[in-house]
Each structure stands twice: as C-alpha cells, then as structure tokens.
Symmetry: C2
Subunit: 429 residues, 2 copies
Amino acid sequence: MLFKNITVLDENYQIKNNMYVATDGRTISYVGQDRPAGDTGREYDGRGRLLMPGFYNSHAHSPMALMRGYGENLALQDWLNKKIFPFEDKLDSNAVYWGTLLSYAESLRFGIVSSTEMYYFMDDMVRAAADSGIKANMSRAIVNFDDGDVWQLSSMKEMKRTFEEYHNIYDGRIKMDVSIHGEYTSNHLAVEAVADYARTAGARVHVHVSETKSEHEECKERHGGKTPVMYFSQLGLFDVPATAAHCVWIEGDDFDILKEKGVTVAVNPVSNMKLASGVCNVPELLKRGINTAIGTDSTASNNSLNFIEEMKCFAIAPKVHFGDPQVVSPDQTIYAATRAGALGQGRDDCGIIRAGAAADLIVLDISGPHMHPVHDLKNNLVYSASGSDVVLTMVDGKVLYDGGEFTTIDLEKTIFEAQKATDKILAKL
Amino acid sequence: MLFKNITVLDENYQIKNNMYVATDGRTISYVGQDRPAGDTGREYDGRGRLLMPGFYNSHAHSPMALMRGYGENLALQDWLNKKIFPFEDKLDSNAVYWGTLLSYAESLRFGIVSSTEMYYFMDDMVRAAADSGIKANMSRAIVNFDDGDVWQLSSMKEMKRTFEEYHNIYDGRIKMDVSIHGEYTSNHLAVEAVADYARTAGARVHVHVSETKSEHEECKERHGGKTPVMYFSQLGLFDVPATAAHCVWIEGDDFDILKEKGVTVAVNPVSNMKLASGVCNVPELLKRGINTAIGTDSTASNNSLNFIEEMKCFAIAPKVHFGDPQVVSPDQTIYAATRAGALGQGRDDCGIIRAGAAADLIVLDISGPHMHPVHDLKNNLVYSASGSDVVLTMVDGKVLYDGGEFTTIDLEKTIFEAQKATDKILAKL
C-alpha cells in the first residue's frame, strides 16, 4: 500500500508534509519525499490527512465493555461489590468473546493497534484478538490467598497452558504475558510462582500497582513499610520486563526501583479521574526517564477507548494536579501513546514510522475546523483533535478500519451479540 | 422538519425511543409517539440516532481560535506576556471576523448552538454570528485603570453603541451583554459604570471571577479581605442577571451570594486543567442549587470546542479533585451543558425538548461500538460519546450542520482566511 501526498509524524517526531510511505507485507518498506519505484499496491490519497504510528494501549480489560455505564456515581467499594463483581461472576466464554470483540472494534475505530490485557477467559480473548486482527499482549490475572500449592490453581494452569499455546502466534501479533492482579489480591506464594514462571518461560509481567491510596497504604502496613513496588521488586517480579499499571501513589524509592528495573508504567488518566483514585506523578516519571505509557483501563471505569481524549487527559490532569502548566509536553504525550507503549509490550519494531518497522499505522483527518489554524500540528493533535478524527487503522500492514468500515469485524452482529450476552447476565442478577 | 423513529432526551431527562419531533419555523411544534398530522417538511430518519437539546457554551472568546496551539507548556504569565498579548495587539477587524467564524464552524460541528462571548471587535463578532446562524450573547470586555470619566473610553462607547445596535437582533438570536473583564483588570469606577449601564439598559453581565488563586488572593489583599464575588456584589454588578466565569477559588460566603443573586456560574473544566488554574467546586455549586453551566473558554487554552469532552471533564475532574466518585452525575452534567447554559443566557425557551421551545437541536449518531451496550444511554452520552458523534446541528429551526456539511459557512474559505490572518499577524511579531 502506498500513502501519497500525506503529512507524516516521522521517526524524529518532526511533522513532514507531502510524503510517501509504502508498506510491504507486515512492514513499512519506504518513507521519503519522492515516489518509490515499483508496484506498491493500493494508493491512498493523503491530502488533508496525517499518518502517524497507531496507539498502543498499555492497560486494558477488554471484556469489561459489557459493563460500560453499568452503575455510575457509586463509591468504589459499592461499585465493585454491588455491580462489577456480581456481573463478572456470571460471565461465560460467549460473553467474554463478544465483549472483547466489541472493545477491539472500538479500539480500531479510535486508532489503537495493540492492547495490553489483564483478565480471565484467555482462550476467548485470544480468539477475539485473532479474529479482529489487532495486536495484543494477553495475561491471565492471578488472584490467590490459599497457602497450598499454587500450581493446583486452575488460573495458574490456564496461565501456563495458554502461554505455551498462544505466545507469539501470528508472527508475534499475539503475545502472552503473565500477571499477578495486585498485591492486595494475592499472597507472596502466588507472586513468587508467577515471577519464577516469567523468568523460566521468558514471559513479560503485567500487574496493578498503587492504584488507590488505601491499596498503597495497606500494603505498607502489611509488609513492614514496604510499598507495592518494593514488595514486588523483592519477590523478583520485576526481574523480567514488566508493566506496572496505575502507579498513582508511588513515592520515594519506588521511582528509583522502577527506573533501575526498566519497568514500564501504564498511566490511566481518565479512569483514575473518574474513579477518584488520584493523579499519577507523570512529570516525575518523565524526569526520571522511566518508560511511561498510556492505558485506558476498562470501559467500565473510563468509559471509552478514545485514545486522543486519553492523550489530552494524560497531558492536562498533571498540569492542574501539580499546579504547573509547563509539565507533560505534546511530544512526551505522543511518545507515551505510541513508542513507549510498543516498547512496554516488547514490540521493539513498533510505534515508529521508519523503513523496516511494523506497519501499525493510523490516518487522521486533519481538515476539520478544530484543527486550524496550524501553529504546530503536534499541539493540535494532542489538545484539539477528536477521537473520531481517526479515519484509517492498519495493523501489520493490513487495513482493519477504513472510513467507518471494519474489514475483519461484523460490527452490527458484534453489538447485537454483546448486548444479548449483557442482557442474559442482567437477567440472572 | 420531522425527526422520525428517533431516540429523544425528553423534557424530564428521560430517554424515549421511537419518537416523532417536528419543528415549525423557529420552534419545536410537536413531540410525541405518534406521527403528527399535516405537512411537516423534510423527514429525517432517526434510527440509531439521539435527538437532544444543543449545547449552550457559557464562556468563550471565539476570535482566539487564531491562537490555538500558539505557545504550549508555558507558565501562565509567560504565555500571556510573550504569546497572547503581543498577538492580540496585532488583531484587526478581518482577523477577528475569520477567527470567530472558524470558532462557529467548530462550535456547530460539536453541537454548540449558542455561545456566551467576551472579547472586543464587537461588530466583527456579531457579523460572524449573524453569518453563521449560531446564537450568541456578545459582550465587549471593559478593562480600565484610569481615574477619569469612564464614558470617555472607546470600549465603553463600543459597549453602549453595539448594545443599542445589535441587542436582540434576528428575533433575539443575537443578544448583547455587558462585561467587566475582571476585578484585577479594572478599577471600581469601571465596575460601577458597567453595573449602572446594565441596570438601566436591561443588559446581562458577563465577568471573569476567581479563575486563579493569585487573582482571588490579591483581590482580598487589595479590598480588605473581600473576594471578587463580594467586591462585585457590593458594587451592584450582580443586581442584574449575570454570568460569573470560572469561580475556581470561590469560598465561604461567595456561594451564598451567587445563589442569592441568581448568578450563573460558567465552569470551564478543560481550560482550568490545562492552564493549571485549579478545579471548580462543582459539587458545592450543585448542592446549593446555583445555576451551573459549562464553558469552553478559548481554544487558545482548551484547545477545542469539543463539548462532549467538556462534559466528561466537568463530571470527572471534580471526582478526582475532591476524592469522591459519587459527585456530579450524568443528569447534572447534561443539564449544565444544555438547560443551565440557556437560562444563563436569558434564553428561557431554550435548552429543552418540548413543544413551544426553540428548535435548537442536535442529533448524535449512537450506533458506534463505543456507545454499546446500553445500560443507560445518558451514562454513555456523558462518559463514552465522542465529540464527532454529533451529526446534525439545528439553531432556531434551521439546519446549520448536517453530516460533515455546513449550510451557512464556507469551511474551506474560512480555514484559508483564518490561516492567512494568523500568518499576517505572526509576520509582524
């Protein structure tokens, strides 16, 4: 495919007009000002459009789309205990598949090319990712308070079986990570077992860290002053590449540990605002050079996968919280939404436009009134664009969304089946 | 015009499916479940669509669209002194007209049907509003530190002349309010003169109040402990219907005064976050029953007029700031974006869908993946919708935006002229 006469966010984060970008199979084969030689397949007229790397969602629970808008304005514990947990208790394979596929339709619509997941029903989530064509890092969340052999847990068996079965299928499009849900939902036996398995199998780790103040403080009470970051680090969980989601309440030495261990922090600005969890100290993460990516969390707490909105909140929530409009620049925000997310998923050839990189690309319509005038297009991209300005989404060189149409997903059927599965669960509650 | 088979947010904030809504001239002539008799003109198929009142933007500086993305990540004083003020110093009639028209194209695109304005170059702003078909409450910002006769100021003369010339033209579509820019930018003589004029002429007042902490605290230092709300109230500025923009740092008796005087508070969540001004105490405003509306502020500090994004931030910024996910409900948010804004503009027949009300209506495409499943459509509207889901905007019964096309604005020309005017100013700096 050949994108011609298109504006490009290049590998140096510079805006270049009237460029040619060609893809060949799964990769970008050419980036330049002149038309490349040879047959490049379909030609895409890029006038009034921006080509940039797709978004890498670094923290998601995609099946929870079924709980979008289910119980609003509740205190966190009421929301969880009266709404989310009872609903989740009724989930089945069919519901998880359609909920995940619905999330992937929404993801592709808003320019997300890859999603770091933590949930259960791995087979069904993998099937949805496979069918949609999206990239995903899946992980089975482990929760355990039992003192027995953790390898007797069905969740640990599922983790091991699905890692062996699905890791790096479709040429690495789908990866299997491993996951401890959080410090407050497991004992040390489960943490150690997951850390051991990750080291042995060569898996990446995904874990919730210090999302709420109570989670953070209660960890310190339980573990002689150790924060979740310190606790996990000492149990070896960060000895493999890891993604720590939220990190709202991290403090002191936590920053040094995250930096030293090369942990990716997945910041979830909208979910953290909506659930009143707090505001992550993104300025400090960036100052320390910690790999800082952006996640949506689930649509039960967001309630959308609008990644442009997520970028804007990533940039402006810290400004007001820390009282400084100078923190978190558009460049830092775009990097976090793209390259940092790809690196956090172990996708070193992704999230950047250059020859040889994966063709995970999105096109934005930049012709609208809200994108003018142009002083600096990157400022408009972060602060003025609308989620729906994304008009094309390509993963591994394959166009999955193009001007309102999905090439791999039957949207009408997916919405119908997701609503049906939701209604079936509600009828049981 | 007849909207048929459409989902409607009715006057009781209930969602009703398969409804008929007809307009006749400038008003809604029929709302019901059965098809109305007689010829109703164009028929609009509402399947998969929501009809709701348009958005009333309660605080805007529309010409500043020309400064969108001009200077980002600067401290407030640097941004103002090095970027905004020098640019504004070079504005002329032509630039203001095209900047305002560009903002109105963006407004209509995002479902804004009316805008409360404060700026200068009133004639050019009125011309842009007139040409676009949007509703507007214009006001000439008064700034004065001189001790002489304030009526010798050209700004005061412009205020009086344009009030007499334009107030309630086009059957009230355009209204002229009067404005003091802020406590920190005028002496008491100007405040008193504007208050007097408003009382005599029957004008509404528009004023910046306690946007930043320093503005609020310095006012108290200057005026023996009086807050801006107390100061303005004692000078009679709130003896007429008034809109107080921002109110981020109001405290104590300020709430009682605003309630007692019937002042509308225009909350600007995105601008306040981006400029690091603070978070308005919306929960307390709502608890007191103060008329609480939503504004975008200018696109130089926002940097968009995406009112659905503004609604979401109106609802979630206070949650995290006050540490309570239960504050600011979807119903309260939708009311603030529509009916409260209309009432704050003195448009008592606007912002609500019922027979006899003004036909200021918008249609949203609710068929996208991000709007499903539906537990409560109002939750999805506030938390999941995207700005661009607005597909039709009607003001006073006239369709001004319909599926990407503007009926009154030549978008290409407007973007071209706005960019040209911007470049001309930049060349002088």
